[in-house]
């Protein structure tokens, strides 16, 4: 029964990871931007939510109504300014720029909010409550809610991409930027829209994580970004070169003294793996679930194996099925 419980918990946690990963996947798929500030922006969204709740006294769950539009606008503006100007130079420049953005955000948060961690709605019954099935399986309301939100977000994204005017333009621009220009579309504006959508999902991810766990200024890079990358990669993407780069970067990581900026190198390893392919939306969910289940099963064996188990699965997928469990395609059609 303990194993069944671990699997169920893992699947539900996977919803959270998919929520982290879908924005990352969307931005990579459309703009070829690996947003290394992805996790930090989720933390920013979490802090905005805390601020909004404190100041306006809106119910915790409704904070997203304010935070999501704020993040969407921020996404559009960041894309049209900072990220676009980096893209105009080269795709690699976007790695440097978003990495810089990540450092600035993290230190900015440390400066203004200190290193203390905070949660969102920690005293809510929804956040602390759970129901039990049988004697061993306990399901947290919050995790169930987050999973449902993740599925709803992915369904919404799929509908948006396949049916709406801007979704169609986003896919067209992802296919061929120049041909889209010849059809009268300003691809920079379309990129902005895609970033706005991605940041909206980031906002949900940040709020969800703030309720699930605690936020502190380093959560973004240490936790959210790593899990997002792992989920994207396991879920599916499609390039041998990316795998090779990832392998090389991973080799570098293991050879280096673990105290010298391991976070950074590990991040770049994941980034390198992501370059060259794009996971499908549902692959992202599957990737999140696989990662979550692996971690829970690892924790079941030994509590210290939780993260390790996740990365072992990540590596196995990379070796046996480098294109991911579900490969390619923004839309499912």
């Amino acid at each position: 029964m303990a194993w069944v419980n671990a699997i169920i918990q893992g699947i539900l946690t996977g919803g959270l990871y998919a929520l982290f990963a879908c924005g990352l996947s969307l931005m990579f798929g459309v703009m070829k931007v690996v947003n290394l500030a992805h996790g930090d922006l989720a933390v920013v969204a979490g802090y905005i939510a805390i601020g909004v709740i404190t100041v306006t006294h809106v119910p915790v769950l409704w904070s997203f109504v304010i935070v999501v539009p704020i993040m969407a606008v921020l996404g559009y503006v960041l894309q049209r300014t900072l990220i676009q100007s980096a893209l105009d130079r080269s795709v690699l420049t976007t790695l440097l720029v978003t990495f810089g953005l990540s450092v600035v955000i993290e230190n900015g948060l440390l400066q203004f909010f200190t290193a203390n961690s905070r949660g969102i709605g920690a005293n809510l019954a929804l956040v602390t409550g759970a129901f039990t099935i049988g004697s061993q399986i306990s399901i947290a309301y919050l995790l169930l809610l987050i999973f449902a939100v993740a599925v709803a977000v992915l369904l919404g994204l799929q509908y948006f991409l396949s049916r709406s005017k801007y979704g169609r333009l986003i896919r067209a621009v992802a296919d061929d930027k120049e041909a889209a220009q010849l059809a009268g579309a300003d691809y920079r504006h379309v990129f902005g829209i895609a970033a706005a959508v991605a940041f909206a999902t980031v906002a949900l991810g940040g709020i969800a994580f703030g309720m699930y766990s605690d936020l502190d200024p380093t959560t973004g890079t240490d936790t959210i970004l790593l899990f997002a990358f792992a989920a994207v990669v396991i879920g599916g993407l499609g390039s041998l070169w990316g795998t090779l780069l990832g392998g090389i970067a991973f080799g570098m990581y293991s050879d280096l003294d673990p105290t010298t900026g391991t976070d950074t190198i590990l991040l770049f390893a994941f980034a390198a793996v992501v370059i060259g392919g794009l996971g499908s939306l549902w692959g992202t969910l599957l990737g999140g679930i696989v990662l979550g289940v692996a971690q829970q099963i690892g924790a079941q064996i030994n509590i210290s194996d939780e993260l390790l188990a996740g990365y072992i699965v990540f590596l196995i997928v990379l070796v046996l099925r480098p294109q991911g469990l579900i490969s390619r395609g923004v839309q499912s059609s």
Binding site: K165, R168, R171, D175, E178, Q181, L182, A183, G184, A185
Partner: protein
Amino acid sequence: MSASAASGNEVRGDRAADGTPLLEVRDLVVHHGQLMALDAISLRVLPGEVYAIIGANGAGKSTLLRTIAGLHHPTSGSVLYDGKDVTGLRPERRATQGIVMVPEGRRLFGSLSVEENLKVGATYARQGPWTMERVYEMFGWMRERRNQPTAQLSGGEQQAVAIGRALVANPRVLMLDELSLGLAPVVVQRIYGMLPQILGTGLTVLLVEQDVSQALRVASHIQCLLEGRTTLEGKPSDVTADQVEAAYFGLAGTAASPAGEESEA
């Protein structure tokens, strides 16, 4: 743009007297890095005509169309459309104002269906006679296969979708870049056979073609490029086959530079 009237004297023959051009290119110089791709090219496209640019590989034909579309920035010279200077305009703004190009190699959106490709073309369309319905009428097979991904179409069918995608934008100037590339002669014939229908709606066509006989057949005016310079221009009926051959390959007796090592035919 001060020397506007003066550049007319570059155009040979009586073209300057034929009326106001819809599209005009003046002394266009374009570089690809250090390499000069176009060396002071000028042309005047009159409303309603089919203007064909011919020339061998690397003559600068596609560069010329892409510069008019706004995809390349000229080193000097200007592009005028409907009397206005559009040289500094972004490609998407030129498209929405009515200069629409069917790019070389078709460049369809691969993850989109036939209909979605047309819808993207129609998103920023001007007012005009062309609708998706009309495109479906012109290419009978297309309606039934509108939900198929474009990868499942043959080369000729893909070219038809690319033309349809441009038409639904309701261009005033339709630019066609190497329609015949990679297509069987029969298919090329069929696609060029559509041209009268397209012209019937009041469009002006500027096309680039390597297949000289095809270009001579459909064009009302031709201009031959060689290594970025104009070597011949005139009405197809006014030029002889020998003249065209000489201009195309840069043989002696033309205004072109010395023949050079033109290895590709």
